[in-house]
């Protein structure tokens, strides 16, 4: 395991460098997210307290599907250009490849969220900066990336790869979506928001489990 982190970061970095040139993935996630939020905003023309109730759900539906969009691309690009084979040929622990791709996905999703969150807050008349909302967003995004990277790698080797990722991914991340929606609701509501931390813990447990599972099975996922 020589230089595990150095190599994982190098894998993430080359994704970032390539993305900085093309902006393919981040732009499509961004456009999609903003459109969904705007459409929802029109669809629920409602009172302030109703807004507070639906807003967290809207936010996480948006992030879930934007995540699927981005993570699918990250492996499809790698595969179609033959680069996945190049990576597999390297004398790397498969965990390094997983971690690198996962970090890249995590960073791209965070980047999109940094732009989408303020738009969301303005459109739904919510406080622009809620630290607890930020915390839950970062953690739930990490959870999405851990599971999504594993499933995207599985999906890319199947024939129905375009819809395989959402079919595998969404049922599994339901607990994360529920936890994120509940915790976001508590973070946005006035008051102490009891229960926030237990939702957060649930997400942390999910991350730990998915990291462990991915490290165990990623080797078998990548091979043809």
């Amino acid at each position: 395991m020589r230089g595990f982190w150095g190599k994982a970061l190098a894998i993430a970095w080359k994704d970032i460098l390539a993305e900085a040139r093309t902006k393919d993935m981040v732009l499509s996630m961004l456009v999609f997210s903003i459109l969904v939020i705007i459409v929802f905003n029109f669809a629920f023309e409602s009172s302030a307290e109703q807004t507070a109730q639906v807003a967290p759900g809207v936010l996480w539906v948006t992030f879930t599907f934007a995540g699927v969009l981005g993570m699918n691309r990250s492996f499809v690009q790698e595969k179609d250009r033959g680069c996945l084979e190049g990576l597999m040929l390297c004398p790397l622990d498969r965990g390094v490849i997983y971690t690198g791709k996962m970090l890249g996905n995590f960073i791209f999703m965070l980047l999109v969220e940094v732009i989408v969150l303020p738009v969301f807050s303005i459109l739904f008349n919510l406080p622009l900066f809620a630290p607890r909302l930020v915390l839950i967003t970062v953690l739930a995004t990490l959870a999405f990336s851990t599971a999504g990277t594993l499933f995207a790698a599985i999906a890319v080797n199947t024939r129905a790869r375009d819809f395989m990722l959402p079919i595998l991914f969404i049922p599994v991340v339901v607990p994360v979506i529920i936890a994120a929606v509940q915790a976001s609701g508590l973070a946005l509501a006035p008051g102490p928001g009891e229960g926030y931390w237990s939702w957060l813990q649930l997400i942390v447990v999910f991350v730990v489990i998915f990291l462990a599972v991915s490290f165990l099975v990623f080797e078998y996922v990548l091979e043809e």
Partner: protein
């Protein structure tokens, strides 16, 4: 490495099925250390499948691959460090420059003094002044030169090449032979799949012909000249139709 074992590459009963159709069928192959094996065969004969199975990219349906005495299925990490591979695809990221691609892979292979090594290889494959160009905008032949440099980054003792001459101009094809020799004078073991009987005969000291996934013919170079190779190839290819 394993001094008692003269074989750099050993394949036993190598079989790869795609559905019911075999791409490789019970291929037994032994390549001594330092040898250069040229593999010929018609389109679809299984040359790429053979290279990919030896390279650990593809898991064979049955059979075993040993590289420098190590079972490839069990010692993936160590075995991959021994291999330099060129396939039909360049394995390069089209949105990164040649330099960025090579630096990335050099890091993955723990190549010491990366920049010097890359500069040296770029010079060797004739990429002067092209390193800062985005790979997607390079011509096919220039991309192939980067792919060759990529495979040689860590100066591997074993090279597996699938039609390495793809896209190269005659001059670059001519330098392939020099390129494949090792810097420190140590012998490199090479398996090269090619459609060019001339080139394969010129570079290789052993020759094999694959037909429909079977090793139909094996010989050493001394036993053959180009004419004999041509007629053997034509005969076997026709029999495989």
């Amino acid at each position: 490495m394993t001094s008692g074992n003269p074989w750099a590459i050993e394949a036993q009963g190598l079989t790869k099925l795609f559905g019911p159709r075999p791409a490789l069928l019970g291929v037994d192959l032994r390549v001594p250390r330092g040898a250069f094996l040229s593999v010929f065969g018609p389109n679809g004969a299984g040359k790429s499948t053979l290279i990919r199975s030896l390279a650990t990219i593809m898991r064979p349906t049955a059979g075993k691959v040993m590289l420098e005495g190590l079972d490839a299925a069990r010692h993936g990490g160590e075995v991959r460090r021994l291999l330099g591979v060129v396939t039909h695809q360049t394995l390069l990221y089209p949105d990164l420059t040649a330099q960025e691609n090579l630096e990335f892979y050099a890091r993955m292979y723990d190549v010491p003094r990366r920049r010097e090594r890359i500069a040296y290889l770029a010079d060797l494959v004739g990429l002067e002044g092209r390193l800062d160009q985005v790979v997607g905008t390079l011509s096919r032949g220039l991309q192939q030169r980067v792919a060759l440099a990529r495979a040689l980054l860590h100066d591997p003792p074993i090279l597996l090449l699938d039609e390495p001459e793809t896209g190269l101009d005659p001059q670059a094809q001519g330098m392939l032979g020099d390129l494949l020799r090792r810097v420190d004078g140590q012998e490199r073991t090479v398996v090269m799949a090619t459609h060019s009987l001339e080139r394969g005969l010129e570079l290789g000291d052993r020759l094999a012909i694959l037909v429909r996934g079977r090793l139909a013919y094996e010989s050493t170079k001394e036993a053959l000249n180009l004419e004999a190779l041509r007629s053997t190839y034509r005969h076997l290819a026709a029999a495989g139709e």
